[in-house]
Structure formats: C-alpha cells, structure tokens
C-alpha cells in the first residue's frame, strides 16, 4: 500500500510562537487516520501546511507523491477539504456554492452532489446566511466530497452536526474509502477515532506522537490533555 501523505520533519512557527516542530507522518492509501490533540496543539497548522495555506519553515510534505509547494494546484484537485468553520459567501444560495466549487475544478459533479444533498438533507434553495453552523457544515461536506477526491481532509467535521448526520457522514466516508479514498480526520472526539479510524496520532505542544492503536480508553486519552495543562 502506497503512502498518500508523507510528511517529513515539518516545522512551522508563527514568528516567535510555536506552530509545529519536526512532525513526520505517513498515511497509507485506504486509511482513516485519526488526528487528535488539544486546542492549539498544532493539528490545524499541520493541515493548513499540507494544503499550502501556510508557508512552512522546514521539512517537506508529499501528497499523492506530489510536492505540496511545487504541485499545489494538482494536489488540491485530488483533495476534498472541510475546514472546522464552514464559511461561504453569505449572499450565495447553497446550490450556487456547490456548483461553484465544481466549476472551479472544471467538473460537472451534479449527480454526486444531488446524491450527497439527498443523503445529508441539504436544502439547496436557501441562502448561506440563512443556515446554522450544522447546515453550513453539511454544505461543506458536499463541497469536499462531490468531486470524489483521493484524499479527504476533515478538520473537526462533526461539531454542529446532529447525531444522525454524524452517522451519515461517517457512512459516506466509509463508502468512499472502500472505493479507494483515504481520510485524515482531525477531531477532539475520541469515540469517533475509536469507532472509525484505522490508525491515529496525537499532537501535543507542536509535536506528534503516533498511537499504537486508535482504540484508547478515556483515561489514557485525557492524560494527553492533562499533561498539556500542567
């Protein structure tokens, strides 16, 4: 199985503030990789570096065997990203946002988008400004999935989603992964990692530690947070 994500010695700082330090990580094809860690530990910094939003200080990132800096555009064609805060242009209708995301990719994703909207119960006639956080997140899921990417990157995807939608969301991930996709799931919810992930790592103070198994108990999990607080 080939590595879909290869991060080597990634270091990113924000001026004098720590971002991530010497992070190395491999994610293999077909994996659902749980990415845990307290707030400010560096999960989003790692993800945003992978997507080219941040300029890294040192190290290298390869996604689908492409360099994250040189092949930035080609990588984004194959990636479906859902940010933790799902913001869109307020005045747009949901249908326009979904269509716009497909058009920029030069694709006609009408059928897949319709299927996703039906399953997630997305009202495509509403304007973005009329939507709650949960409903905006559903739009974000459709935008991330409609082009059937090879790699999904989800940053705290289930916050704001009701339990039924959370279930449907993970069903969708499993279906795409069964068809050959890979998923990086950044979350605070241990039960999600326990239930759905095949591998996991935890970030603390900018450093990454691989977990032997994604099935860890609450006490072990909370220790990571407590140590951070101390």
């Amino acid at each position: 199985m080939e590595n879909v994500v290869e991060i080597r010695n990634l270091t990113k700082s924000y001026g004098k503030n720590r971002g991530v330090i010497d992070v190395s990580l491999d994610i293999k094809q077909g994996d659902i990789f749980g990415f845990l860690g307290p707030n400010g530990a560096g999960k989003s910094t790692t993800i945003r570096s992978m997507l080219g939003f941040l300029k890294i200080n040192s190290g290298g990132i390869k996604i689908l065997e492409m360099d994250s800096v040189k092949d930035h555009e080609r990588i984004l064609k194959e990636v479906g990203y859902m940010p933790s805060e799902a913001w869109f242009y307020d005045s747009m209708r949901v249908s326009d946002v979904i269509k716009y995301a497909a058009q920029v990719r030069g694709l006609d994703c009408t059928d897949e988008a319709r299927k996703l909207c039906e399953r997630l119960k997305v009202d495509t006639t509403k304007r973005i400004k009329e939507l709650s956080l949960g409903n905006r997140k559903k739009v974000s899921i459709v935008c991330a999935m409609q082009h059937r990417p090879k790699l999904f990157i989800f940053d705290e995807p289930t916050g704001g989603l009701d339990p039924l939608m959370q279930k449907k969301f993970f069903e969708l991930i499993n279906e795409y992964v069964e068809q050959g996709a890979t998923c990086l799931l950044s979350t605070h919810v241990l039960s999600e990692v326990d239930k759905y992930c095949k591998n996991a790592a935890i970030m603390r103070e900018g450093r990454l530690s691989m977990l032997d198994s994604p099935h860890i108990d609450d006490e072990t999990f909370l220790k990571f947070y407590e140590e951070e607080e101390e």
């Binding site: 939003f53 300029k55 555009e73 984004l76 940010p83 913001w87 920029v104």
Partner: protein
C-alpha cells in the same frame, strides 16, 4: 478561473450599481440644475473667478461656470472625481482582504487554483468594475447635455472620463497592494487614500510651493478644469500613474504569494 472571475463580479455587482447610479445620477442632477441657475450664473461666475487661489484650485479662473462646459468641469468634475476615487478605493482595498476577514478564504483557497490565479481574477474584476462604472457615469453625463439641448463636448468629456478612469486605476492599484496585507477590513484606509489624494491636489493648486509637486498626485492629470481648457497633462504625472499601478499590483502578487493565510 472564469468561474472565480464571474463570482467576483457577482459579489461586487451591488456595490457597482449603488456607486455608479449614485455618482451618475448626482452628476446628471447637477447638470440639470444648470438650467434653473442659468439666470444667476453670470454674476456668480464673475464672483467665483475673482477669488484668487481658490478660483485657481477649482478651475474657476480659467473656465466660466456661466457656460455648461465650465459648470460641468467645476461641479460635476468634482463630484465624479471624488465619487469615482472613493468607489475605486473601496472595491480594491477589500477585494483580497475580505476572504480572510469574512473567513471565506479556506473555501476559496482549498479549490485547485494558485494564489496568483485568484489575484488575477480579482485584479480583472476591479478593472471591469471601474470601466463599467465609468461607462455608466458617462452615459448619464451625456444624457444631461442632451436633455438641456446643449452640444456635447465629446472630445473633452471622453478625455476627462478616460483620465478619471486612469486615476481610478492608480488609486485602486495602490489599494490592491494594501489589500494583500493581513486580512483585515481597511475600508477606512482606502477612503482616506482617495480623500488625501484629492486634498493634496486641492492644496497643491492653492499653495504656490506645492505646485511643482502636483504631478505626484493622481488628480493632477485628471483635473476637469484643465482638460476642458485643453491644458496638456504633465507627462511625468501620467508616467507616475503607471508606475504606481504596476508597483501596487506587483506588491500584491509578491506579498500574497509569500505569506501565510489567516483562517
């Protein structure tokens, strides 16, 4: 890229309509008011042309506001000069920074487009907006002349609107560069730049010591009174306009491609 450009145009359409109709209709009303004021204009024109430096500043020493052409240059010229510069500044200073300010950047920048391509779309959007704004206002002003059964001074009017468009490009070029800085709403700064440029020109025409440096400001080559009296624009001011536009746009590309994007 076409989809992004279309989206940018749609996102800014409301602004364009509000500003172009406001400035255009205000200009048209000013032109139409000329007829009702025509009777008193002779005395007013004499008084205004003898106010020394202030007459120079507003061009009333070289043009008589008793004629529609002179009235247009002094009154509508000021309205359009200020209105168009404010519009140019507002759209350009928010067009890049709004993505981070309103948190839409993560959506836009996760789409498979380089930052440079996105900036090209945004720069093109500004250019289209300014051209359409100028065309709409020009139509209103020509309509005003026609409604008063006056001969339209096409050559001077189109030169004036063309120079105003260049002035708008210059201000928007500077603001475009500033918009690439960290994503905060800087509408106040944009408006300030437009007003400072206007005041600089006004002061430069009143204060003799500043006259030699008037060419630095964008209003120096877009002054209605000078254009309607066929005064040649200082060449260095036109060269400087292009220099400012190029620097502003290049800075935006350089800065935006090298920095982190806020979430």
């Amino acid at each position: 890229m076409k989809a992004v450009l279309k989206r940018e145009l749609l996102n800014n359409m409301k602004n364009l309509l509000i500003w172009s109709l406001s400035v255009g209709i205000l200009g048209l009303i000013c032109i139409l008011l000329y007829q009702s004021m025509q009777g008193d204009m002779k005395e007013m024109a004499d008084a205004f042309s003898n106010m020394g430096a202030f007459s120079d500043a507003f061009g009333m020493s070289t043009l008589s506001i008793a004629t529609l052409k002179g009235y247009f240059a002094t009154e509508v010229g000021t309205v359009h000069g200020l209105g168009s510069a404010m519009f140019a500044a507002i759209i350009a200073i928010t067009i890049i920074s709004k993505e981070e300010d309103s948190h839409t950047g993560e959506f836009l920048f996760s789409l498979p487009l380089s930052r440079s391509k996105i900036l090209v779309c945004k720069a093109l959007c500004i250019a289209v907006m300014l051209v359409v704004f100028t065309v709409i206002c020009t139509v209103f002003y020509i309509a005003g002349f026609i409604m008063l059964d006056e001969e339209v001074p096409y050559e001077q009017l189109l030169t004036f609107m063309g120079r105003q468009l260049l002035m708008n490009f210059e201000i928007s070029g500077i603001c475009f560069g500033l918009s690439s800085l960290a994503g905060k709403n800087r509408t106040g700064l944009g408006l300030g730049i437009a007003l400072i440029c206007y005041c600089y020109d006004l002061m430069g025409r009143v204060v003799p010591d500043l006259k030699d440096y008037l060419y630095i400001g964008p209003y120096s080559y877009a002054n209605a009174a000078e254009i309607f009296t066929d005064t040649k624009a200082p060449e260095n001011s036109l060269v400087l306009a292009f220099v400012f536009i190029i620097i502003g746009v290049l800075f935006a590309f350089w800065n935006y491609n090298r920095r982190d994007l806020a979430s």
